[in-house]
């Protein structure tokens, strides 16, 4: 245990020292060319991040609902027989909460792509 701690302390300190040394020694110089975004040396074609439809965020949130569902369904399916009716009840409660969210999203029209 002591050896491990010594190794951690020693190499942790070494890493910190190297980062610090880099900040201390490395030259920091700026120029207009250097501060432009790197596009393999050609002039940048676009200046900033373009806006994109907010609907994509909605898709991401909806994905979360189904993703969580699947993440918990698979382990449950593995131990389905061992857990028995109690597990079924717990899972039912879980699915109910998800279903409420799903119904809410549906009512809000989250599944309508063009609206």
């Amino acid at each position: 245990m002591t050896e491990v701690l010594v190794v951690f302390a020693l190499f942790g300190a070494l890493g910190a020292a190297l980062v610090f040394l880099n900040a201390l020694l490395g030259p920091r110089r700026h120029s207009p060319v250097k501060d432009t975004p790197f596009e393999c040396g050609s002039p940048p074609l676009e200046r900033e991040i373009k806006p994109f439809p907010v609907k994509f965020y909605l898709v991401a949130f909806l994905f979360l609902v189904f993703d969580i569902e699947i993440v918990f369904f698979f382990p449950w399916a593995v131990v389905f027989r061992e857990l028995g009716p109690a597990g079924l009840a717990v899972m039912g409660a879980f699915v109910f909460v998800l279903a409420v969210g799903f119904a809410y999203a549906w009512k809000k029209g989250a599944f309508q792509w063009d609206s």
Partner: protein, 156 residues
């Protein structure tokens, strides 16, 4: 004081020559020899220059590998200027060194016209051993040169 300065300078040189991150600016067939030098066959990593970086922000050795046309020249210049200090440049192959067989209006007759070069590597294309030899020579040069660092006093 003089002793401290030279020791510091040489320590900095030692640290830098064995930790070169290179940016390969590969435009032509010398690239094959570069790949061979960089990969397992000739293994440039043995000399502490193993990291290939595809952003000049992280690189301090620019490898100009191949023909640089007049159109390519400003691109090369931009890449060089976007690299972090300290930086070194290797011109690999006859085209990068002197224009090579392309003695015409379309090709830059040696990249020295666009950016400062530290090491010139002859050959069409150069053997990987030549590239490794050039790397050793560059390391020698880095060790000996006056190191550029953050709080260095200028104009003294």
């Amino acid at each position: 004081m003089g002793f401290l300065t030279t020791t510091f300078n040489s320590l900095l040189g030692w640290a830098r020559k064995y930790s070169l991150f290179h940016y390969p600016f590969v435009t032509a067939c010398c690239g094959m020899e570069y790949m061979s030098a960089a990969c397992a066959h000739f293994d440039i990593d043995r000399f502490g220059a193993g990291w290939t970086r595809f952003s000049p922000r992280q690189a301090d050795m620019l490898l100009v590998v191949g023909t640089i046309t007049q159109k390519q020249a400003p691109v090369l210049r931009t890449v060089y200027e976007q690299m972090t200090e300290p930086k070194w440049v290797m011109a690999i192959g006859a085209c990068a060194v002197s224009g090579g067989i392309y003695d015409n209006y379309a090709v830059v007759q040696g990249v020295e016209a666009v950016i400062p070069v530290d090491v010139f590597i002859p050959g069409c294309p150069p053997r990987p051993e030549t590239i490794l030899d050039a790397l050793l020579k560059l390391q020698d040069k880095i060790q000996k040169q006056d190191q550029d660092w953050r709080w260095k006093r200028r104009g003294s």
